[in-house]
């Protein structure tokens, strides 16, 4: 079995009046491919819009926020309005176990709503990309302990950090790294909040080491070619430089976000670490000269400035540029992208510039022939979150009968179950993707089976409606009918082979086999109402046509290629 265009499709396909047949097919495939990469999955409504109302290039520019005024859209806005604002946790009395306005599940639902429904899809993709890159967990994004205010603060820190990534996701890498460095969620997660020079103790290296290994440079290259920032003297000197960048603990006054204090902590009364840089042996970190700063200038502004200078200095290193550009290329093109496309790497690094222009780099990638190459299609395995969300987007899923955030959560319970089973729930101890030991879990093909099984159960008429998978409202008939029309057929006179063709084209364009087509047709031809032998062939006007179609769609969504993009 090989993946190649179905002869049936080649013979019947009539995508438009202007291009030769092969070119029409290639054009639709390219659009499908691009949409699958710059969004959380191809939505038929967006796809139709690209075909009928605007060209692909313009859509990309819109998604990059270079033209137009794209926003998350009315559907997402309405759903998100059911969630409470990020509030002041200080209203929870000290010692109280009363919960805050959020739960971790609500945070996950809100994120899923954005991923599924937002029209600003690239922003959601990149928000998740950076959230994963600067990975933190709601279980440790604030001071430990406490079910009341402490938990509220941890959730708030995580939400605020996530919203920051959303606002900055297309700007520049320096701002993103700085946002992460100053985020209380990160400071607690990697223990920077507990690091201050205190009589020679209490320096906690965790954050600075991971800042270099995970955030700014490539851990897998450590010790194998990166000349600077790899020895432990540098790690310790860097740790000292940023030590004491404190966040207010969740006291009764609920400190404002991002506030950095340098005098109020009981354990870090001031920054004695700075005195270390006045000695002859502590004036540099690798090749970064630590600017002199006399005690009279030890203000939080000046201290932040020193940390910022170090951050910018590392980001300007070629190794950092190669690391980040390669990661973007792998995500959007293919695992072997950096090695296979040295010229594209060069162009990306040029676009990345001094401090990491994300938007310019993505533009280079999205308009490169390598990105749109037919050879690069369907060669990325979706992460579990991408499988789950693209499942819903492929069917233009609707959140029906929603009146509050609990309704939203109930509609998402099937996806929740899938993500939980995949070990990929949002905001809870995520493994950053792209590293050898972590990525193996992320791309594990257990997801294939699970999503297939889930898809089947969504549509299996034997599953009672109380099963958790039957929540989001899907109506595949209009989508398939529109595809039938595009192919030159009519629903009322359609055969099972034609409907199968339209269904497979809807989800996979030509990425299906003859066997897939035969099986899909068979699903349409059989009576699924009873366990008795099937008795009737496909009848588009029959009473069970919709049910048969749902089963055929379920089959398509369980095919292994749905786990690819």
């Amino acid at each position: 079995m090989t993946w190649k265009p179905s002869l049936l499709a080649l013979g019947l396909f009539v995508a438009g009046p202007h291009l030769p047949l092969a070119a029409q097919i290639a054009d639709l495939e390219e659009k499908h491919h691009v949409l699958s990469r710059i969004s959380f999955g191809v939505s038929p409504s967006v796809f139709n819009s690209i075909i009928t109302q605007q060209d692909l290039d313009n859509h990309i520019l819109e998604q990059l926020h270079l033209v137009g005024n794209v926003s998350q859209g009315a559907i997402a806005t309405n759903l998100l309005n059911y969630f409470p604002p990020v509030t002041n946790c200080g209203t929870i009395p000290t010692g109280s176990t009363s919960p805050g306005p959020w739960t971790t599940s609500m945070m996950q639902w809100q994120q899923l709503v954005r991923m599924i429904t937002s029209e600003d899809q690239l922003v959601e993709v990149m928000t998740y990309f950076w959230e994963n890159h600067f990975s933190t967990s709601v279980g440790k994004s604030g001071a430990p302990g406490g079910n009341g205010r402490g938990q509220c603060m941890r959730q708030r820190n995580e939400l605020v950090e996530n919203e920051g990534f959303r606002k900055l996701c297309l700007t520049n890498f320096y701002q993103l790294a700085r946002h992460s460095m100053y985020s209380p969620a990160m400071r607690y997660y990697l223990d920077l909040a507990f690091s201050c020079e205190n009589a020679g103790r209490s320096l906690n290296e965790n954050y600075f080491r991971e800042l270099l290994e995970l955030h700014l440079l490539d851990a897998t290259q450590f010790g194998t070619g990166i000349p600077n920032y790899t020895n432990d003297a540098d790690i310790q000197a860097g740790t000292r430089l940023i030590a004491g960048m404190w966040v207010n603990r969740p006291t009764g006054n609920d400190a404002p976000y991002n506030q950095v204090t340098n005098t109020t902590s009981t354990t870090c009364n001031i920054f004695p670490a700075l005195t270390l840089f006045n000695g002859p042996n502590q004036t540099h970190i690798a090749d970064f000269s630590v600017p002199a700063l006399p005690p009279s200038q030890w203000t939080s502004v000046n201290l932040d400035r020193r940390a910022d200078e170090l951050l910018r200095h590392v980001i300007r290193q070629t190794q950092s540029k190669v690391f980040l550009c390669s990661k973007l290329l792998r995500y959007f093109i293919a695992d072997d992208a950096p090695e296979s496309h040295p010229l594209l790497v060069r162009d990306c690094i040029a676009a990345w510039g001094d401090l990491g222009d994300v938007r310019a780099t993505l533009k280079v990638i999205f308009f490169s022939p390598e990105f749109r190459s037919a050879a690069r299609r369907w060669n990325r395995i979706k992460l579990p979150i991408e499988v789950a969300v693209s499942h819903a987007r492929a069917l233009d899923a609707q959140f029906h009968s929603v009146t509050n955030f609990m309704d939203v959560g109930q509609r998402l319970s099937a996806i929740d179950t899938f993500l939980s089973a995949s070990g990929a729930t949002l905001f809870t101890f995520p493994s950053p993707d792209g590293f050898p030991f972590a990525s193996q879990r992320q791309i594990g093909m257990a997801a294939y089976w699970q999503q297939g099984y889930a898809a089947y159960r969504v549509y299996e008429d034997a599953v009672p409606p109380t099963q958790p998978l039957d929540n989001l409202s899907f109506n595949p008939r209009p989508l398939v009918e529109a595809e039938l029309n595009r192919l030159g057929f009519s629903w009322s006179t359609s055969t099972s082979a034609q409907v199968a063709l339209a269904t497979l084209q809807l989800f996979f364009r030509n990425r299906y086999s003859q066997l897939d087509h035969r099986v899909t047709s068979a699903f349409l031809d059989e009576d699924s109402a009873t366990g008795s032998p099937p008795t009737s062939l496909w009848n588009p006007n029959g009473p069970d046509a919709d049910k048969r179609l749902r089963l055929a769609v379920a089959l398509c969504l369980s095919l292994p290629q749905f786990c690819e993009r």
Binding site: M1, T2, G139, K140, P144, F194, N198, R201, S202, L203, N204, E205, N206, R209, A219, T220, F222, G223, T224, D232, A233, Q236, D335, W378, R380, I381, S422, G423, F435, P436, F437, Q440, R441, I443, G444, M445, A446, Y448, W449, Q450, Q451, G452, Y453, D516, V519, S521, A522, F523, E526, S528, P534, T535, L537, L551, L555, S558, L559, P560, C563, E564
Partner: protein, 488 residues
Amino acid sequence: MKKNNSIGRRDILKVGAASLPLCAFSRSLSAMASAAAGGNPNRRLLTIFLRGGNDGVNCVIPHGDLDYVNARQTIAIPPGPLTSLNGYPGIGIHPAMTGLRTLFNQGKVAFLHRVGNLEGQRSHFNEMHLLETGRLDYKASAKGWVPQALSQVPATGLMPAISLSHRMQRMYLSSAASDPTFHLQAPYSTSGALRTLAIDFADPGSPPAITPAIRVANRVEVTGASGAGAYPVTGEGPFLRSTIQTSINKLRQLRGNHAAFNRNGTAFPTVAGDPNVASLAATSSYYNFFARMEEAVYMLNQGISNFAGVELGGWDTHNEQTTAGQVGGSSAQGIHQILLAMLSHAITSAKASLGADSMILVVSEFGRTNRDNGSGTDHGVGALYMAIGDQVNGGVYNCWLPASPTMPAMGQPKGSQWRRLLAPPTDPKYFDAIEPATDFRVPLIEIATKFFQIPSANLVNLSEVGPAWRDIYNNTMMNPAYAQLNFV
């Protein structure tokens, strides 16, 4: 009326409830172990990987070293009635490890201090990768050392090497063509509702029929629903279908013939007399560790596997190492104490079940800094490995203490280098860390040659680690870090 020659939906469902999700892989599994020769097929090894970097200094503690308390002002573990080790007056064990202490005093435990990468790197990612592949050079597609060693043992079990984890362990990553290993990977639940068998192959380019998706994933998985007998799968070509069918049969055999395999771990945390039992009740998030340990022991005892691997995370104790932790959400103990109690419990239970031909090897990617950081420790270099079993030459290795007013100098120590554990390093790159005395590959080689009795000449046949392991084994340069510890 059903059409002739059509594929019925129910026909498909007979094969798999989800119809066609899964795919391909490489050559026949019948080739597995066929090339094996020389090793002892009756030996069993259980590996436990402590992810995050275990603080070995607070596990097997140099109480007699004055530097210990000085270096660890906030996290030092004081000596007490539960810490003493027979024959080692200046060295104690963490009091949470009561079961392991008993085993040690019976001569069944070797604590191998100061084992590590001589390069002194302190990256989780690098050090895990090197330890799991047995190599000193980073190679993204490198195989694990377990299947390479397995290739020299004429194993006949259903799944000669198996990793039980929520993800694949690289230590068990193999080329399915010659020495396959298996990964049981599932969201574990008390009902054991779902389980996936994964087979990995290291070379993404072979065979050519593999789909791009599989090529990226480097693996094939076959999944079975509990009791349903449903194994959805598809392959490309008769060869691959045959291979997958073999995998299905293995999973079916495991689930069918070994109904007792599905464990929930309840048998393990019930060792009488352990004062930490109560604390373990608060660690539900780590409860699966016991289930996996129990399953691993079952597979080894049943002769299903020669190698079985589990892992336990949470050892990256930068903070709250000995104070109130977040493990389980409500414990008042430090993270490290809870983890050590769990580890000791699981090992004690496993040892009680395993036969005399079995060994448990505990490793971690690095140790931690000598000096605490206020409430925890940062990344170090030299680690503590542990070997448990009847074939072990028990004792504390690579740790020596000088005489003090209250303690005579330790007699002839075990290990390759006699130095204080917390002695200042001879090389700045080991600053504030345990300087490794033994290369991390030495214990692996000793297990291969002495425990599994693989002829040393066969080491050079190991496809990837062979040349380097040969150099270490022969040690023609007389490098003390390559000297055998003789703990087996």
